[in-house]
Symmetry: C2
Subunit: 622 residues, 2 copies
């Protein structure tokens, strides 16, 4: 793995975001969504489940995945507190962390369902029961609560829990040789290793990864008769190093790939990284929507076959968007290749933020690319994995912008923000980025150094950008490019300003013809933003509108629309009579068209007005 450019992310605690696209999103996440999610967890019994007072007859029993909802809330709220300390929030966090820890059994086990509802079934069905999945989220919660507050209540509890899990599962005699049907604990254990330095946790993660998909298959041994579910649904059909396609349940899959990437780095294991690269090529080259959403099929919440990307039934679970961002972030730290940042950015500005309403109180589980007007965000879900997952990503957004290593600084995302001082090449360096990105392509990067220093600044040139200019102190420069990054090596002085202009025209995008669903259709993209047409902006239906090749399209900033967005406007055609009658099939006729005003809005803000049809892929011909 010597040929790679390895970096570490500058953590969100060292980055201050002040950005036109993100400020409202992050404020509403903190002020509305996170308190709202706590209320929902309280109201639905998820919090009180940890009091271990449930008895048959006493209302709804704790579900097998409830613990993870509370854990992700702790993680999200801890990030918020770390970014912007809030004594009230800290109090609630500490209480909740203590409540979770209080549910720990003498042997270290924590699980509200299997402690109260099905005591006899602990570890009996690793495939379906989500015990290790919940454990993973509890571990992440303990790690982040400690990082945000310095308090060890929950961290110590999850360490004891991880120790207990290590005593139950593994290759040694007397242990169950299993692994989880919903991957998550693998990446959580790496985080626990990072914060504790305890190598046993890394080894346990490695065991889960190495054991997965080996024969005899644990999931086949575990229960004799199954009524549903193939091994590939759980990515357990082949040893992970032999897997080559994104397969099965999307969130499970990408959480696994996250841990594989973590371990590839921690253990310098090129076989794991090669598997990740193969799978990435398949997933991002043949199975990803233009919005960066993944997982095309509702029925398995996951993948089917290459280029099977229907729009109206696109599943694109919000959690899968979170997972795809997490994975590409990990790949990017191991190998600073712009293709990973391009996918990360695509999902971050499109599929992911679509997952929450602008008011922060309604959420999408599924993020289709077209709708007849019947798909809307909901206030909560029985299986409520998505809201808190999205919130923890938003709350830790600062993690994704910059990286560093001993003598380089890297800019991955053009979010207006600044870092605290970083030690690089023996100097103390601070970056401050000013921009109206993604609405404008101009970026200014101010560099402060405590003394004149020779180091490399690595600036991502987004894959969507076909022309850019870079100036330092107003002088045009042509730095070399490496894997999608411009490398500017010079003696930096305080007051150096790098100005970058990314050309950002409205672009008509086509699919690879292998995607049959998008034939005769065009999508609009400008910068990283993918657009959609929505009935609320049109005199015709978004379902019928046609955007011919020669349409004149203009981008226009509208501060008053949907929290401030750049819209794309022009004119389009609609058939006078879309179909002769209601027949499902009928003889071709030559329709008449009329001209109609056209407006497209960013996909990420759709369904924030009255209900109506929506489409990302717009007809470009009759």
């Amino acid at each position: 793995m010597a040929d790679m450019n390895r970096f570490e992310s500058i953590p969100f605690t060292e980055v201050r975001i002040d950005d036109a696209f993100w400020n409202d999103r992050l404020r509403i996440n903190r002020e509305v969504s996170i308190p709202y999610q706590y209320e929902q967890c309280l109201k639905t019994g998820r919090i009180d489940a940890f009091r271990l007072q449930w008895k048959p007859g006493l209302g709804e029993p704790p579900h097998i995945f409830w613990d993870s909802d509370v854990a992700k809330w702790i993680e999200a709220a801890s990030y918020c507190h770390a970014v912007q300390p809030d004594p009230e929030l800290e109090k609630l966090l500490d209480e909740t962390a203590a409540l979770v820890a209080s549910a720990q059994q003498p042997d270290g086990y924590i699980n509200t369902h299997f402690t109260q509802v099905e005591k006899e079934n602990r570890w009996m069905n690793l495939r379906d029961n989500h015990e290790l999945y919940c454990a993973g989220h509890l571990i992440e919660a303990g790690v982040v609560h400690f990082q945000a507050t310095g308090k060890r209540t929950l961290l110590d509890a999850v360490c004891r829990y991880a120790d207990y899990i290590d005593s139950v599962l593994g290759r040694e005699a007397g242990k169950k040789r299993g692994y989880c049907g919903h991957e998550e604990i693998e990446l959580a254990l790496v985080r626990l290793y990072h914060v504790t330095g305890e190598r046993r946790y890394l080894n346990l993660s490695r065991y889960f990864i190495d054991e997965r998909g080996t024969e005899p298959f644990y999931f086949e041994l575990e229960v004799k008769v199954r009524t549903w579910g193939s091994l590939s649904y759980y990515q357990a059909h082949l040893p992970v190093r032999e897997q080559a396609t994104a397969i099965g349940h999307a969130v499970r899959a990408v959480y696994l790939y996250c841990a594989m990437t973590d371990l590839a780095g921690e253990l310098s294991d090129p076989t794991l990284l090669r598997a990740c690269e193969r799978i990435w090529d398949n997933l991002c080259g043949k199975r990803m929507y233009i919005t960066g959403g993944i997982g095309n099929l509702k029925q398995n919440e996951g993948f089917t076959h290459d280029y099977d990307l229907p729009n109206e039934t696109a599943y694109c679970e919000t959690c899968a968007s979170v997972a795809l961002i997490m994975w590409n972030q990990r790949l990017l730290q191991l190998d600073c290749d712009g293709r990973y940042a391009d996918v990360l950015e695509r999902t971050l500005y499109n599929a992911l933020p679509a997952g929450v309403s602008l008011d922060g109180k309604r959420f999408f589980y599924e993020n289709p690319l077209s709708s007849r007007g019947v798909h809307h965000r909901q206030i909560w879900f029985g299986c409520a994995c998505c809201p808190s997952n999205l919130s923890r990503l938003f709350a830790s957004l600062g993690n994704y912008i910059f990286s560093r290593n001993s003598d380089e600084l890297t800019v991955h995302l053009y979010v207006q923000s600044s870092t605290i001082r970083q030690k690089v090449a023996g100097a103390s360096i601070r970056l401050a980025l000013e921009t109206h990105y993604p609405w404008e392509g101009r970026v200014q990067l101010m560099i402060e150094v405590d003394r004149e220093t020779d180091f490399t600044l690595r600036l991502r040139i987004p894959g969507w950008c076909r022309s850019h200019q870079i100036r330092i102190r107003e002088k045009l420069i042509k730095p070399p490019l490496e894997k999608g990054y411009a490398l500017i090596r010079r003696k930096w002085q305080s007051g150096d300003i790098v100005e970058i202009d990314f050309e950002m025209p409205v672009e008509r995008m086509k699919s690879n013809p292998a995607v049959s669903f998008n034939h005769g259709r065009v999508a609009l993209q400008r910068g990283p933003i993918v657009y959609a047409v929505e009935d609320a902006d049109l005199e015709a239906s978004a379902w019928d509108i046609i955007l011919p090749e020669n349409s004149n399209l203009q981008a226009r900033w509208d501060a008053n629309l949907l929290g401030g967005v750049t819209v794309i406007e022009g004119s389009a055609l609609v058939p006078v009579q879309p179909h002769v009658n209601d027949d499902l099939y009928q003889k071709e006729t030559r329709p008449q068209f009329i001209v109609t005003p056209f407006r497209a809005i960013p996909y990420c803000v759709w369904d924030n007005r009255q209900a109506g049809a929506m489409s990302v892929w717009i007809k470009d011909q009759k």
Copy 2:
């Protein structure tokens, strides 16, 4: 139900087929497919399972649905023997029927799986275990074996079995109040009632229909915890009279609708018929492929939502085509409305015959409308429901052509054939139909009467036909039309010849725009035949080819191609370079096109040459 035109089908035993389209299909079905299917049943243990010699350790245990494969083979072979007596086949049939009957338990039960493999689970899981489904097919086999041979061995056995089932299931005290998770027995019991006159069988069928979907739901009471499957998958979410959409598993659903239609007629129950009509409107108006295939989703082998008709992943199980033909035939006898015959014909000439190779030895389970060249017929299946289902439909094709009532004769399908003498309006009448349909639109119908007789001849004017002429003794007539049928009432004399000319141009068909998958695409149809492009006929790929609106297309009979078919030929366009590179999404460019020879073949004969791409819906624009 007074406003309907009720008829009874002229049975296949009274019809002799001699038709250009069907002769080879029916001969190969009889000479190749049916013996081949017996061999497969023998080789895989399905036949010997009835010897009740299986013990743990003795090879593969009988599956829960194996009995139905043997039963459908008996049914198909019995039809063949009835049409064309064959002593050798009769011997094999009698042996097999005796073998099945020999497996009957003292209480009347017949089931190779639950007698040998899971004795303790008889009637324990009606939802998933297919016991009543297998019973239904055994009953049909008993009925048809008796009709074909006059022998009661199997008929008596299935009567005892039905009596036993009647003693176990029902509303009376001490009975299980259940019904089958895979409908089939309901329609079989109506057939058993017809052949035996025993009204208890009709009542049992009625019980199954009436009980279905009522609360408390039997399937929820039956087993406490289910890992998969919603009630609607089994059409058991609502009482059948309240159902309004085609829902769940397609074959289950349409077998149910068959029985509902049977009972609507037998019991003169308009509430059942209204439910069927509502469901039919939904299924055939919003959920059916242009090939007449149904069931769009692989994961539930069934339906999703209106207009969700993707092509490459179209499931269109061959069994569902059989079921759709059976259902429309039943509706057509209750209410002689051409819309039912139109759907029946669409499926019969397109989706159904595609299910078997021209050599009769390979079968499709799934019948997609496009393929990248990787979907091929198979020699057999673990779940082998389709081959024998298709064979029994082919072998009884004669049932679908003519109907009669006390003073009318009706022609539904233009298959070259003749009837034996029918008693109508007090006379003895014989019909003989001469045609090269579906390849040509000219039909001659010869009428023989034993004396000059006044009766109505009802001739279907196919829904696809926009212009037709009818002549009697060379004189043009304009008979009144009723629900898609021309009514010719006159004093018929022997030697009367009705000549019909259906105009049969090549037509470019479009989908309702609500079907997003077919945007920018056209399908070709001529008469009832739906066409497809296949790589074997093209210099370019069927996936890339474009058929502009102004293409000049000609139909040409080719006696030497694929057993003799009419092809559609002309020229088309292909892009010089379909995509700039392999990127999944990229900026629109203006492609260059070249002209290329075009040929389309009937969909029903695709995948009978070298592997390659195929598509029914052809791009009509870049």
